[in-house]
Amino acid sequence: MTTKIDSRKSWVTESFKNMASPLVAIFFALGLGAVVILFMGLDPLKAYENLLKGSLGNTNAIGETLVKTTPLIFTGLSFALAKRCGLINLGAEGQLYMGGFLATVVGIYLKGLPLFIHLPLAILAGFIGGGLWGILAAWLKVKFGASELITTIMLNYVAIHWVSYLVTGPMKEPPGNFPQTPAVELSAQLPRILPGTRLHLGLLVALLTIVLFYVFLWKTTVGYETRVVGLNSEAARYAGINPERNAFLSMFIAGGFAGMAGMNEILGIQHRLFQAFSPGYGFDGIAVALLGQNTPIGILLSGILFGILRSGANMMQMAAKVPIAVIYIIQALVIMFVVGSSIFNFVQKRKGLAAAAKGEGVSC
């Protein structure tokens, strides 16, 4: 009763049908956020005004917003894909670091290649780096029954310390005054696409990835099977689908998507690997996917919303003295209001479906 069951529903209707509750959630989250700001003795109107000015006020601000949106789309897709297969991927942050790491390796150590070969290779490396880290969690689950809920979280810490080791040790840039690697070759950097801003080709890669996410889940047999496993793994097994194989595949792709976020940050913005290069994009992906209801369009839109929050936060802190961390409060409230609003759906459904209360099976 509490989950959406009809898998034949097209993604378009799925995306737009439930737009109302996220919008209400955003509205209430901003409202309650304002109360929190007021409670801190600061001015919420001034805060929000500067949040908007800082994120959408001019071309440069919009460019920055899209720069922040890009990794959020990747990590949002990561959480959503795993969720569609019935898995909880809390490891996007670690997968992001591993993707950034492998993309850096290809970006630095492969030299003399033309851009149209080097760049795709580096992007692919980012995907594989994250994907392998994702597969590790799937393997621990399938082979040893270790819940991916915990292992993915633990693997985050391992990946972050691993990158910290690399940039202070073996991959450190000579002469070694800073804990960072040398810059990746120019031929492995994502070119800028909007003059005067930092907006780079990564955004287009992210949009393409959204399309791939859609095609995979709704247009391929394997994707269809993945969704069936996600809805009811026992029924899937009965129908001859192998849930274990699907777990490997979806954790590989989910990890790969998160790895793309890391690749995107390194090849598009930072151009070198250093410690703590992600400000928590991996965890934000959970909120993005949830607000976007695990649909392609939804993830794009909620990615932009969280991009706005992130890029406007600096201006908000500078001009209105409201700590950047307030946007975390707003994000958390958005999630809570989204899941909270399901109580209304629940009441509505009960009215219509009271008779079919037992019909929880998969209808595909």
Partner: protein, 306 residues
């Protein structure tokens, strides 16, 4: 040599205590069918509330109470969304963690300002228990700790007794195994789950206050640093029992204590690998020791009366 061992064991117990406190609460939540990955956020809230309580009221005990109170408040939000609204427990838990990080970072800035030295506050310092503290090895390890360590250790048998020897404990366990059956015999599933989550919140808050007032005596951004997640792992590793949680917490604490010691001893092992130890230990524990062992049957599944 004996000194080294004594120091190591004492440090182990010190670092294990916040994990143990949070894990004891989580055992109750899990046993009643609630998976709470939000313990990290609850601990963080407890950590700031602890410092704030001690700072404004001038006493570490008030800090501990404030930590418990705020942990409980946050846990009620979690309980409402997961039990009443029946939202996905993992998603709500993740939101609680983000909320905890946002609230504590923002309010710490407002309360204590930026770039200023941490204020002097009352914190928990080791209290030697007369006579007992003089016993070699065991004395310094067990009887020369701060008060919250003693409380945590005392809570282990208490939690065990309540869970396995009383009517309340039976209800908690039954609700986690078969909520529907409980409902038919007149046990209020929602009430039991609310109470269990509340216990998690109280103890997570106390665990957080221990981090900010027992291990250090100030608050820093994100200072709980994954202990909430490790506590959750300790519950699973400890097979959902208070005694098991104690064992698991000591194991994870040992990893942490070992890491500090090796780092200080100036080995050639890069310190990042030592920092990985507790997390890898957790993964190995989940994969090897616990294996396919099952948690409560209704764990993670919202219950709705039909």
């Amino acid at each position: 040599m004996l000194d080294v061992i004594t120091n190591f064991l004492a440090a182990d117990l010190r670092t294990a205590t916040p994990i143990l406190l949070a894990a004891l609460g989580l055992v109750y939540g899990e046993r009643s069918g609630i998976v709470n990955i939000g313990a990290e956020g609850m601990m963080l809230t407890g950590a700031l509330a602890g410092v704030a309580g001690s700072y404004f009221l001038g006493n570490a005990w008030f800090g501990a109470l404030a930590g418990m109170f705020c942990g409980a408040l946050i846990s009620l939000i979690f309980a409402y969304l997961t039990i009443t609204v029946k939202a996905d427990q993992v998603v709500v838990g993740a939101a609680i963690n983000i909320l905890g990080l946002g609230l504590t970072t923002s309010f710490a800035r407002v309360m204590f300002g930026v770039n200023t030295a941490p204020p002097q506050i009352d914190s928990f310092t080791p209290v030697a228990i007369p006579v007992l503290a003089k016993i070699p090895v065991i004395g310094p390890v067990l009887f020369q700790q701060n008060a919250l360590v003693y409380i945590a250790l005392l809570l282990v048998p208490v939690a065990h007794f309540i869970l396995f020897k009383t009517d309340i404990g039976l209800k908690v366990r039954a609700v986690g195994e078969h909520p529907k059956a409980c409902d038919t015999v007149g046990i209020d599933v929602y009430k039991v789950r609310y109470a269990s989550v509340l216990v998690s919140g109280l103890l997570s808050g106390l665990a957080g206050a221990y981090v900010s007032l027992g291990l250090l005596s100030f608050f820093t951004e994100n200072m709980v640093a994954g202990r909430g997640f490790i506590a959750l792992a300790a519950v699973i590793f400890g097979k959902w029992s208070p005694l098991g949680a104690l064992g698991a917490a000591l194991l994870f604490g040992a990893g942490d204590a070992l890491q500090f010691r090796l780092q200080a001893s100036g080995t050639d092992i890069p310190f990042q690998f030592l920092l990985m130890v507790p997390y890898i230990l957790t993964i190995l524990a989940l994969a090897g020791f616990v294996g396919k062992s099952q948690g409560p049957a209704a764990s993670g599944v919202p219950y709705s009366k039909e």
